[in-house]
Subunit: 228 residues, 2 copies
DNA sequence: ACGATGCTTCGACGTTAATCGAAGCGTCGG
DNA sequence: CCGACGCTTCGATTAACGTCGAAGCATCGT
């Protein structure tokens, strides 16, 4: 008998297909109502309600009441990172939910993970920041260098506002499609927001896909492509 | 219906208590026979055999046949990192398998994660390497700097041998007890090996605990405590 | 105040899967 | 070659849980 936390409880929560669908849907970071999650998971409302209660009790979800709606979202960024991690294993083991359709390439190219950019473009952006020495390793993972602060300022990211948030500023999150790192944390969220504000890309409604416009993609490629 | 890998299969695998026990036991990186894992999980051999077949099929375990024994171990480091991640969630959510006994403090202080050092000492070592500028952020997470290479050489780690391995040299792995990073990858494994070779610590048989001797603990504290 | 909407609780049904006894198959030691 | 050991497969039992219909409770709009 081993000591330590009991992973079977969390595993069993993720193990049910309906709950897994809900978690995957919420991995985009959006908050959804119970009814939305029910249709997302393909079950009735009362079944969904039971599942959501269990996910809440297990600490995987957080609840925000608003009027007669109950908005569910992932409890924290760590939960999102763990789900991406399991996706990496499942993807590698060949357990796909859907046969490779037109959606998956778009998901691999650019998607939202909790609240930051993931997928190939997310990884490319991360690599670019490393090459610029905008990020350096710190005790808790990553830190923004002065050069990085300058870059963010030039790009239009409000670093100070991001720093004020209670979340860690920079975190590395493992990508399930590329198996490489992309930038999470408050700064990652702010970067994605800026990219959307610039009109380079926008979130596709109801999915995790981040769709780049042709000029936006060109600008993005130029940004991450140019060496310093 | 969401696209992407199906989380629920992996989740269901972890969701069974017997299988979770096996995975937790294997998180130390050691390979165990089917019978050992059966007693570890508290089930009979034939039940264990069924579970192990499922874990193999799910890609979470790797199998090494040796004579009439079948040695099971975690499929790769990514799997170990995911298990540590789930442990972090489970620990935070308060799902303990055992009431806090004498074992858990030792696990929190120093334990082996796959094949490298985790726990408070693992985190302290990681922090120390960052302070020395021995590690810096790279495209795929972490890189060893020239200063770091010198440090490793002084400490007695064969960096070249570690670099020859097919695994990534440096990886950051999230600690479930401290929720901070510690060093994984080939270099992390080599560091733990060197610490054991120096006689500073040794693995406690049958557990994940890494037990430091009093002089070893003093030397370790001095090493990670001194600022550069 | 009334109905409509969003969600939860209760109860019953059905399916899944974990479990173990017994038997079967390969491997090692003598 | 034979028994001991390690492990797997088969079959049957049992327990757990996901599922939905119906009813109940709260909240919003009018």
């Amino acid at each position: 008998m081993k000591a330590g936390p009991d992973i079977s409880i969390v595993g069993a929560l993720i193990g049910d297909p309906a709950r897994a669908n809900m978690l995957t849907a919420l991995a985009g970071g959006v908050a959804m109502t119970a009814t939305e999650l029910a249709t997302e998971a393909g079950v009735t409302q009362q079944t969904a309600s039971s599942h959501l209660a269990k996910l809440l009790d297990g600490g995987l979800l957080a609840l925000r009441k608003q009027g007669r709606h109950r908005y569910f979202q992932l409890a924290n960024e760590q939960t999102a990172a763990m789900i991406e991690g399991i996706m990496g294993l499942a993807h590698h083991a060949g357990h796909r939910r859907t046969q490779p359709g037109p959606k998956e390439p778009a998901l691999r190219e650019a998607r939202v993970c909790y609240d930051h950019l993931a997928g190939e473009r997310g990884v490319a952006l991360f690599d670019s920041l490393i090459r610029r020495n905008a990020l350096s390793a710190a005790a808790d993972g990553l830190a923004l260098t002065p050069a990085g602060e300058q870059f963010m300022c030039d790009f239009g990211v409000d670093v100070e506002a991001a720093r004020k948030s209670r979340r860690p500023l920079c975190l590395a999150c493992l990508d399930w499609s590329s198996r490489r790192n992309h930038l999470a944390g408050a700064l990652g969220a702010a970067l994605l927001q800026t990219i959307q504000d610039k009109g380079w890309a926008r979130r596709e409604k109801g999915t995790r896909i981040v769709r780049f416009s042709p000029p936006g993609a060109r600008a993005f490629d130029k940004l991450v492509g140019e060496r310093i």
